[in-house]
Amino acid sequence: MIEVNNLHKHFGKLEVLKGITERVEEREVVCVIGPSGSGKSTFLRCMNLLETPTAGEIRINGELVTDPKIDINKIREEVGMVFQRFNLFPHMTALKNVALPPMRVRGLSEKEAYDRARDLLKKVGLEDKANVYPSSLSGGQQQRVAIARALAMRPKIMLFDEPTSALDPEMVGEVLNVMKDLAKEGMTMIVVTHEMGFAREVGDRVLFMDEGVIVEKGTPDEIFFNAQNERTKSFLSKIL
């Protein structure tokens, strides 16, 4: 479903991704862990071209998205993204946040878009918050709206960039539960997270990144309990 081949990304002189090669199969849930600044966000952002790779190839469903001639917006329609800081549109209600993108991008009628948005808010447990503005929602609620908003585009792949690290601890669970449901429905997901419980419950594989490369990968149990690489071990000893 996703094939990344020798991906490089520079910011000026700084090389942030130093040759990443990885495959993610359909319905797979891959968790990415690694120290801050190791390039996890950049890796994710390359996949929906929020960052333009410096070199290497990314294919999504066989389509070469790193081809300069590709329609970037078409790719982004297929790849949903959830950010650490939610990035809801503050001047729109929760419902409109979810309804607007499919209306603008997929050309849905207002009724279709709002019906879909209501269904999705229900799915994330926020049907009663439809007409509330983001500033009146808790962090956990905002993140669930953000997930609903990404889903409204009916993406084939969902990218999550530390979706729970800006949340108070008591709100982490509600967001992870929504993500677990999504994983169980068969969504293909790449999740940057240090939530070991989540990774073990629904993750198929874990990638450990450091200094722009994938240092080690394996099943969640292999990585968390039987890491081979010293850098992995040292990192895990700090977060666990």
Binding site: N48, L50, R76, M81, F83, N87, P90, R104
Partner: protein, 231 residues
């Protein structure tokens, strides 16, 4: 006592002429606000653009206008440029002073507006554009539906100050004989030498006008604040 009476008489006598001047002042300011907003928005987007054919002219425009006095811009536009055209074509070329005044004030105001609009757009969190783009919205859609509605609230208050400054600065058009408020005051003084009562009247009429604009702006800001409950 008789001095006060004589001052009051002058104030009353000059008043109709000041009102006619105020109408011209309002007219010039209104047109200049309108075109200044258009120029300012274009220049703001030009300066924000990544493409140098848009970026460079916008920067040159903004820096030139903001780096030179309005007074000199008025002289340059009303005397300098027609003089140049006359010399180049051999035919006498003139501009109507009011038209010249509107054009110069629009161009001048546009450069200041551009910086205000640009700052407003830039201060919307980067994550907003990224979220919109990650949902497949085009840059244009994201600007219209996501960025601008948030930027407008940041832009309106400083823009309001800019309109007030513009109204006051339009008094400089007296130098090219636009019969606006100040010029009409000056004409009356040149006939009567009653400088104090005339210029205090002129000042009070400006004050009334700027307070009027402030009121309108406060209303607009309130309306925008009410229709948006995000704060």
């Amino acid at each position: 006592m008789s001095l006060l009476v004589s001052y009051l008489e002058h104030a009353v006598a000059v008043f109709p002429s000041l009102l006619r001047g105020a109408v011209i002042t309002i007219e010039v300011t209104t047109f200049a606000i309108f075109f200044g907003l258009i120029f300012g928005t274009i220049a703001a987007f030009g300066k924000l653009s990544k493409r140098s054919i848009f970026k460079v002219p916008s920067i040159v425009y903004i820096d030139f206008i903001r780096g030179t006095p309005l007074f000199v811009q008025i002289l340059l536009f009303y005397y300098g440029i027609p003089g140049l055209i006359t010399a180049a074509t051999g035919q006498v070329f003139r501009i109507d002073p009011i038209i010249a005044g509107i054009v110069v004030c629009s161009i001048n105001s546009g450069a200041y507006n551009a910086e205000i609009v640009r700052a407003g757009i830039k201060s919307v969190d980067r994550g907003q554009m990224e979220a919109a783009r990650s949902l497949g919205m085009t840059e244009r859609q994201a600007m219209k539906d996501v960025i601008m509605p948030q930027a407008v609230k940041l832009i309106i208050p400083p823009l309001g100050n800019e309109f007030i400054a513009l109204l006051k600065d339009s008094s400089l058009l007296a130098i090219i004989s636009v019969h606006e408020l100040s010029k009409n005051g000056m004409l009356y003084v040149s006939k009567t030498f009653a400088a104090f009562p005339t210029y205090i009247s002129v000042a009070l009429v400006y004050l009334a006008l700027t307070m009027g604009i402030s009121r309108i702006l406060a209303y607009v800001e309130r309306r925008l604040g009410v229709s948006d409950r995000s704060e």
